[in-house]
Subunit: 304 residues, 2 copies
Amino acid sequence: MIITVTPNPALDLTYHVDAFEAGASLRVDTARVRAGGKGVNVARVARQAGERSIAIAAVGGPTGREFADELKTSGLDHVLVPASGATRRSVAVVDAASGETTIMNERGAPVTADDRAALASAVRASLPGARCLVVSGSLPPGMPTAFCAELVREAHDAGIPVVVDAVEDALVEAARAGADVVKPNRAELRATTGLADPIAGARVLLKHGARLALVSLGAEGMLAVTRDAALHARMPQPLDGNPTGAGDAAVAAVAVSIVTGDDDLRSRLVRATAWSASAVLRPVAGELADNFRDLEHNVGVMDA
Amino acid sequence: MIITVTPNPALDLTYHVDAFEAGASLRVDTARVRAGGKGVNVARVARQAGERSIAIAAVGGPTGREFADELKTSGLDHVLVPASGATRRSVAVVDAASGETTIMNERGAPVTADDRAALASAVRASLPGARCLVVSGSLPPGMPTAFCAELVREAHDAGIPVVVDAVEDALVEAARAGADVVKPNRAELRATTGLADPIAGARVLLKHGARLALVSLGAEGMLAVTRDAALHARMPQPLDGNPTGAGDAAVAAVAVSIVTGDDDLRSRLVRATAWSASAVLRPVAGELADNFRDLEHNVGVMDA
């Protein structure tokens, strides 16, 4: 079983328009409303791949109620704890003409010390029975950057490996706490380490204490870097589609590899690359295209 | 007392951004959330001007609960009846750099015959004690275009004058039912009558049975056309700001003129023009700038 934690969940509203234009007033169909946030997406993908997953988040206000309603409807197992602030929104406008997506991502309400303690406590209570913990996404205002690292230590105390998708101080501290996998993309890794070369950046995180750094490179594929090896995988050609959620699919792939006992670096990287590409083919984050396992056969791997 | 009916209410979300760009992913502050829709805006403005007003609407779903919460917080008197579908959203992004506002206006959930009957019944129950009924804004999917006309007849049976801000068939039918005031803007009037000349278009509505047509012309001011007269009013110079809600302020002005017994055409037009200009100075719809009464002295009126 995979436990995912989403420190800064969002109620995702998505609009599909024929031709988006700044300054225009557009009549649109009702927004598709979804419980979102990276950890929730990871849990959805893991479930689609046949692994039991539980999404944990703290939600509040009317948007939190909508978040909970959508999770219930979707059938994804979840543990929601009450937050003192209202759950933030994320509004995405997908433009059919340009293929571009415009996103307004709310920062979120500040969390209190009680909010933080309640979320950590829910994670702690869920650890017995878990085979992997995933901590994924931004931190809300007021959440100490040490939060991810604390969860890494909690899970390790219970003998459970941890995958962390975070940035900057939160990512560095998680690496220092010995996160089993860290998953920044190239821009996040650069923002975190100051290094433009993703392999050099990955090695900084390994030096801090992370065991494996998966670095997503967008259309150029993905890197897997450990203390002993660096591999680069990519699809034969980039896939057109919606890149939102591609990184979450990679995180889900590595979490599934962990719970199924597949610790071969090449195999983990192939799966992460294929699932990530498969997610691009889907219009929304948190889903894989049906051919996600077939795509694994198309991934090319070379030494990086 | 002014009763306003909003057939297609919306939960308005507004984001303020520094530099909006299609295709960008922006971190934004939490949306300002407001119970919206033209009739609600009219009621807010009338109240700000010192007239008691009651906003009537049908709302449903989680967005309907947020709508109700915001109305309660705002202190505006209201009667909300349950709707079978969820209340639609409207998302506005105000760009500080360009001054432009980009709006995604959801069409709304289809209404049922029961929804329509419940809303009409709430209006009927509120008529005793009212001095003016305002029916304002778009109709939701499934609402017959005869709805506005029916309310005109109901109010007239109770001896209460009616102001209608609607478009196309709904506006024509309301005029045929003898609406006391119709308030399209220039584009709406053209879409309704097929005539580019707003005075000619206004006369079509009068011929159908409307008593007064107020036609807002944006920065060029406003027309008031009756069977006997046509006046054109404007501010000495156009005001910079947010035009959303300017038409609602004009509707509120004429409704206030009706309940205060001011039936002078010029005076009504001056008030509508000044309040409309005043609304442009406010960042959100449903509000007047504090100097709204002073602005009445600046309005120039000529024969049209």
